[in-house]
Symmetry: C2
Subunit: 476 residues, 2 copies
């Protein structure tokens, strides 16, 4: 790598600032000390060792995605170019990680009104993620796209996600009606290499197919073809995304928590959880990262929200993620954060340098309440507000981190993904739980199957039909 | 009122189902009983009396909005018609309640891809809410609108909201550049009747102006011109919205908690808060109500998140609102809700009958994992999933409500607004706090003023400049 490039990467390194987690700033009652962290040395070492061990055992394959996909990336880029040249719209059919990752990256790295730009300025198809089965939403989408000129990327590892497959069945039928035997050209499947309905269909019907590698769970799949294809179709430099993730991964391989940003974020959140802080707020000060808070909410909630630990003991672990947006939610949530219960950790996501700037003109100079704004830029205003909010929280002794991206670009966004994924997995180890499964959603899935009459779910149906009836006196 | 109309209103009544808050369903440890509620009789009576008393004193004027705006509504409808005939875009400049209410109502009652519909189908201007000062976001909006053909509705009661006024200064300058002396025709101000910069400007410059009545705080202002003008511009029947709110208000005037849906929702949330449930999740099973969860998040957080009670004692009250969306967040949050800490109350927002329906075709009949979906509608699927999730939460002994709108229309949305506002105010009384102020945001505001050099904030500036420096060892 050239010296200039290394230097640029260094400049683009994400900063994790945990000053406002520490007693010097937050006070003794709420803050933490170096000693609190050092007292966990054994646990940190253990967790680090377990991470290393798992990395070969199939659960941490997502960590290698930034390093082992050269061939896949070439195929993705080629496919994306072809789609960009012929499609008017690109629709992801997916839910959970298959939707949240693509949405987060698209919003971070493309124009904030991308779909409303003129075609020539956009340079690629309009982009939609259909991550619900609300009939009004699905019907609304079909009002604004022409299926014949749309590529549908159906994403489901198992090929049995009810919401995604229901959407796919509708799209499949519609495409056959509209464009006949050529319909398969408008479908791309992203799924498991071997198992499930979707890979079976894809083979039989001849869809272009991408593989979600083994050991890459839905919420850790953004840097697999799940996220890379949609990003590339929208013109995002996916090699830079992966380079950023690889750069951060290296930083986070260090055992020393005082050098490893993911571990430090994780250890301090873990300490806060142990003190009963059951809420984790992510508050970006940029619309571009708004959907990163959604992506992180799944990662954090589904990975750490677990009834039992690795020994099978009931622990009812988890911290509830909350998505906020600065400055917007200063006018919605900050009153609560400053004055309410001492039950949360706030993570600010800041930006060093915004990609665009707008100056507030010097007008209404005789109105003292607003005249001082004139001459400043919006970038100065939003940064002052972020700093002021951090300061207000600190004064009120409220725990908060600040994670700063020097600029929003593919390299820093890649770093952010890897940073937060490693943090989450590491906290799973500290909590001694399995961060990679989701047993708690089975009950709801099975009840849905039963309600819709899926064969094999008769006893669950029986259970549902004989459940205690709701009391009408409890309905107003 | 005609008999048919009364009957229709009755059919359109929102249902509040609290079965899954009660011991019969949730078990003795987590559930509540009739006795728990009855034990609060004195407190409920007191709170009811205080609500009545406040209603004359200037804090509860928002409760009368559904009943006392005939004249204003006529002016709004006339103005909206004129705008619909000449504008290509309508942009709200506002933040907090001025943004969240208009967004929630627009998303609920208009097409889910409203801005992307062809003009003739939309019948009115495209609609945007600029509720942040992120320069990238502001610049992005100017890429897709033509200011000369856009009406800007600047909303700020005080006329000194920094974010809104900064936007306005930019727009003001831009309009003068683009269309010269006629620029005032593209501006509508919604503000206080007498006080503040904005009403002063509006008079001097001759903007069309609407008034936010006294006693109507930002988060309670959706049914004032703040929300009614944007709604009317987008073709929403604001008289029906108000009729729905009036209908619900009447139901919620009853002192008997077993007849008053807002009081019952409030009392049970209050009981849950007393047991340490510090998180309130709102989870609509419809994209149309997605932004209602955002609107509610402000209402709930800012009203109830208070350091001191009415006697000035430290209470650090508040419950953190969380926005979720069914079915989408079943694949993100439900794992945590079912298996994590017993720290939350979930409120499902359901729909009796979706306004559109899509049938899943009978295809892939040889694939057992998905064939059962064929022949069902998406409405059946999403409702089965809602029921299954409620059921799974109940089985895991997790407190949950279900609030059902028989259909989403202006009448039911009006009901929902009034229901949740009254619930919030009532919980404020139960907690013995002031639900109508927001002292906790002052520190951040003042620090922002100081950082931007506003005259009069020199000592705050001094304070900021001499604050302890962050330690570089706490930055990774």
């Amino acid at each position: 790598m050239r010296y200039e490039q290394l230097q640029w990467q260094e400049q683009m390194k994400i900063q994790v600032d945990f000053n406002h987690m520490m007693t010097e700033f937050i006070g003794e009652e709420e803050g933490f000390t170096r000693e609190h962290i050092e007292a966990l040395a054994g646990k940190i070492k253990d967790s680090h060792q377990r991470m290393l061990k798992k990395s070969g055992s199939g659960w941490l394959e997502w960590r290698k995605l930034p390093m082992n996909q050269e061939e896949v990336v070439t195929k993705i880029v080629r496919t994306a170019e072809e789609i960009r040249s012929r499609a008017e719209a690109f629709v992801v059919l997916g839910i959970g990680g298959s939707a949240l990752g693509p949405l987060a990256v698209q919003t971070a790295l493309n124009h904030l009104h991308y779909n409303e730009l003129p075609t020539e300025r956009r340079g690629g198809p309009r982009f939609y993620v259909l991550d619900n089965v609300d009939p009004e939403r699905v019907a609304a989408l079909f009002d604004i796209i022409d299926p014949a000129k749309t590529i549908f990327n159906v994403i489901s590892k198992s090929g049995s996600t009810s919401e995604t497959m229901a959407q796919f069945m509708i799209v499949f039928n519609l495409l056959r009606e509209k464009i006949g035997s050529d319909y398969a050209k408008n479908i791309i499947a992203t799924t498991d290499a071997e198992k499930g309905n979707l890979v079976k269909m894809a083979r039989e019907e001849g869809y272009t197919t991408f593989t979600i590698p083994a050991g890459v769970g839905g919420r850790f799949s953004e840097l697999s073809p799940v996220g890379l294809l949609p990003a590339a179709v929208c013109g995002i430099d996916i090699r830079e995304l992966l380079a950023g993730a690889a750069y951060m991964d290296k930083l986070c391989q260090q055992e020393d928590v005082f050098r490893n940003p993911a571990y430090m974020l994780g250890v301090l959140q873990y300490l806060a959880m142990r003190r009963g802080k059951n809420i984790s707020v992510m508050m970006p000060y940029t619309d571009a990262l708004k959907y990163f808070a959604d992506w992180y909410a799944q990662l954090w909630a589904e990975s750490l929200g677990k009834r039992t630990d690795n020994n099978g003991e009931d622990v009812f672990a988890g911290q509830t993620p909350v998505k906020a947006l600065g400055t917007t939610d200063q006018h919605s949530q900050v009153q609560l954060y400053v004055e309410g219960p001492f039950d949360k950790v706030v993570t600010f996501l800041g930006v060093g340098c915004y990609r665009q700037e707008v100056t507030i003109p010097k007008v209404f100079e005789d109105l003292a309440g607003i005249a001082f704004l004139g001459g400043h830029t919006l970038g100065q205003l939003i940064k002052a507000e972020q700093l002021a909010t951090e300061y207000a929280l600190m004064k009120a002794q409220r725990l908060n981190f600040t994670v700063t991206l020097p600029e929003i670009n593919a390299f820093t966004v890649g770093q952010l993904i890897q940073l937060l994924e490693i943090q989450t997995a590491f906290v799973g180890e500290l909590l001694d739980i399995n961060a990679f499964d989701q047993p708690g959603v089975e009950e709801g899935k099975n009840a849905t199957y039963a309600l819709l009459g899926r064969p094999g779910y008769e006893s669950k149906k029986q259970e549902l039909e004989t459940r205690p009836l709701k009391k009408s006196e409890y309905i107003l």
